[in-house]
C-alpha cells in the first residue's frame, strides 16, 4: 500500500491540520481533521459495501432457485451489484456522519470522547484511571498524518476507549499529557 489511488482523489491533503471548532456549543471539544474522512469512508464504507456484495449475491442465488431460472449467474450478478451500490452508498453516508459526529476533549479531569448520533455516547476517562495508551498508525494513516489513540482502563465494558483517526500530533500530545498523569500518580 505504498501509492494508494485514494490519495490522489483526496482534496483535503493541502488543507491545514487544525480541526474546525465544534459547533455543539460546549467549549474545548475538538473534531477530527479532514484527512480522517477518507479513513472513515474506508473503514465503514468498504466494510458495508463488501457485506452488500455478499448479501446481494446470496439473494440473487436464492431468487434463481425459487424461480427455477436456467442460469443462476445473471441474478447473482444483478443482486451483488445492487447490494454493493445500496449498502456501499449507505456506508459512505454513515461514514461521513460518523466522521462529523466524533469529537474529543482533554481537560483537567481527563479525556472525553463523543461518538455517534442515533446511538450517541460520551465516554469520560479520568486521567487517574488511565492504565496505558496505544497509538496505532496504519500505512494509510501515516500517509495522511493521522493516528488512532487507544486509552486502556482497568474497567470491563469501557476497558479500551478509542479516538479514531485523530491528528497524529494531537495524539502524541494527548499521550504525553495522559502518561505524565500516570507517572505523577505512581509517585504519590
Amino acid at each position: 500500500m505504498t501509492q494508494s489511488p485514494m490519495d490522489e482523489t483526496a482534496p483535503e491533503q493541502a488543507q491545514p491540520r487544525t480541526a474546525p471548532p465544534d459547533r455543539t456549543g460546549d467549549t474545548g471539544w475538538r473534531r477530527l481533521p479532514p484527512a480522517a474522512r477518507l479513513l472513515f469512508l474506508l473503514d465503514t464504507g468498504i466494510g458495508l459495501a463488501i457485506a452488500g456484495l455478499v448479501l446481494g449475491g446470496l439473494a440473487g442465488l436464492l431468487a434463481s432457485w425459487r424461480l427455477d431460472l436456467p442460469s443462476p449467474l445473471p441474478p447473482v450478478l444483478q443482486g451483488a451489484a445492487t447490494g454493493l451500490l445500496v449498502l456501499g452508498l449507505w456506508g459512505c453516508w454513515l461514514a461521513v456522519r460518523q466522521y462529523q459526529r466524533t469529537a474529543w476533549r482533554l481537560d483537567d479531569k481527563g479525556l472525553s470522547v463523543r461518538r455517534g448520533r442515533l446511538w450517541w455516547s460520551e465516554t469520560r476517562v479520568p486521567a487517574s484511571r488511565v492504565q496505558h495508551l496505544d497509538i496505532q498508525r496504519g500505512p494509510l494513516q501515516r500517509r495522511r498524518g493521522v493516528s488512532s489513540l487507544v486509552v486502556h482502563t482497568a474497567g470491563s465494558a469501557a476497558s479500551a476507549v478509542t479516538v479514531p483517526h485523530m491528528d497524529a500530533a494531537d495524539a502524541e500530545h494527548l499521550r504525553e499529557r495522559l502518561s505524565r498523569r500516570i507517572e505523577d500518580d505512581d509517585d504519590a
Partner: protein, 513 residues
Amino acid sequence: MTTPDPAAPATVVAGHRLHPMSWLFELIAQLRQFLVPLLALVVFGQGDRSELWPLAGVAVLVAASLWRYFAFRYQPEADQLVLRTGLLSRNVRVVPYGRIHNVAVDQTLLHRLFDVASVRLESAGGKKPEAEMRVLRLDQALALEDLIRHRGATAPGSGAGEPSVGDPTAGCDHPESMATSGTVLHHLPAGELLRLGIISNRGMVLVAAAFALVGQSGENAARIFEALGRWLFGWVDTSAFDTAQWVVAGTTLLLAALLGVRLLSVLLAVLQFHGFTLAEYGRRLTVERGLLARWRTSTPRRRIQAWRMQEGVIHRLLDRRTLKVDIATGGGQEDARSLRELVPVGTPEQCRALVAHLLPGSGWDRLEWMPFRPATWWRLFWPSLPLVAVATAVLCWRFGAPGLLAALWLPWAAFKARRQAARMGWAFNGRVAAFRTGWWSRHWYWAELDKLQALRVSRNPVDRRLGTATLVLDTAGAGALGPPLRIPFLPLRRALALQHRLAGELARRPLRW
C-alpha cells in the same frame, strides 16, 4: 505484574520443590486437556492394533509431568516469591506479594487422600493465574498462603498508591495462630445450607444439562424417555383416565419433579457450601467451603471492586438475601473458585452488618435513593408488548381461541413495571455510587468511588425521543453481563451532571486497586 529478574544466578538451584506426588496431579490436569484426542484415539483407532497409542500418549504425559516436577522450584523471599521453571531453558519469575490479588487453595477428594493442595496466585488482569503450584503439602500450602497474606499487607510500595496507614492488626498475628486470629464474619450452619439449596435451585441447571446430554444421543433419547414413562405409569392403566384424572396425575408429577429438583439443589448446596466460613485476617478476607472437595480463597478487602445484593421471591419468603462481590483477577468471573459470594444466604440484618463492617463510613445503609420519573414504567413495560403479541399469535394459531389467555400476561407485566419503576432508584453520597432495581426480584448494586474507572453516558433512539440517557459507571472485574452499575432512564442533563461530578472526583483520587 511480573518482571524477569536478570540478576538471578542461573546456576544456583535453591528453593522448595513441589510435593513428590505432584506429577500425578499435573498428569490429571494434562489428561483433562488431552481427554478428547485420547478418546478419539481409543474410538477411531479400533481394529488396527492401535489400542496402545493412548498408552503411549499417557506415557509421554507422565514423562512431561515428571520433567515439570524436577524443574520446578519456588523460593519465598522477604517481599517477593521467586519461581524457577524449566530444566533446559530456564525461567525465573518474580511475583511481588503486594501485587497478588487473590490466593486460592483448592483440595479435591484426591488431594485430600494425599493430604496435599494446589495453590494459585492471581494478580489483576490477564487470563491466567500469575503462578500455580500443583501441588504442595497442605501445611506448606497454608504456610505459603499465610506468608502472602501477611507480607502482601505490609510489603512496602506494593501496588500503585496503596494506603500506608491502615488496619493495625495487619501483619501482627503469627503464622501458627492463623486458625484463631481471624474473625469469623459469616458462617453457614446446616439450616442455612438447606435454605441456600432451596433458593439457589442449582439442581435445575444440572437437570437441564442432563436433558441436553440425553437429547444429544438421538434415538436413544426416545428409548430412555419411553422407559421412563413405562416406569412411571407401569402400575396404572392410563387408558382409563378421564380429564380430571389426567390433570391430577399431571399436577402430581409436576410437583414431584419440582420437589426432586429442589432436593437435588439442596444436595449440591451441601456439597459445595458445607462449612462455608467467611473470615477476616487483618486486611484479608478468606472464604472456605466444600464438603468433599475443599476450596479456600483469600483476597485483600480493598481488592473488592463492586458489590451486588439480591433478594428473589424465595429469598423474601425465607427472609434471606445474597451478597456478592466482583474481584479483579485473571479470568476470575468464569472460575467458580474465586471469591465471589461473601454471603451465599443471610438475613438482611447480617448483610447490612457485613457491608457496614467492610465498608466503614460509606453510609451505605443511609443512602438517599433518588427516584425515577413515574412515567419510567412505560419504558420497562413496552419490551414485553411484542413478545406477548408473538406468543399469543403462535398459541392462537396452534390451539385456537384459548391461546388468547397468553395476553393475560400483559396486565401482570404492566403491574410489575409500575411497581419496579416506583422502587428503582440511584444514589451517590460522595463515597459510594449505587443503583437498585426490581420489585418481584430485587437487586442492589454499588461500588466505591475509588473503584470506578471510565464513565459513559449513552443514548439510543428511544432515549433521544424522551430526553433520557443511560449512565454506565465502569468497574473492574465485572462479568460477561457488563458492569453492574448501569443506571438507565436518567434525564440527560442529570446524567451529564452526575458524570461531570464523578469525573471531577475521580481525577483528584489516584486509582487504588
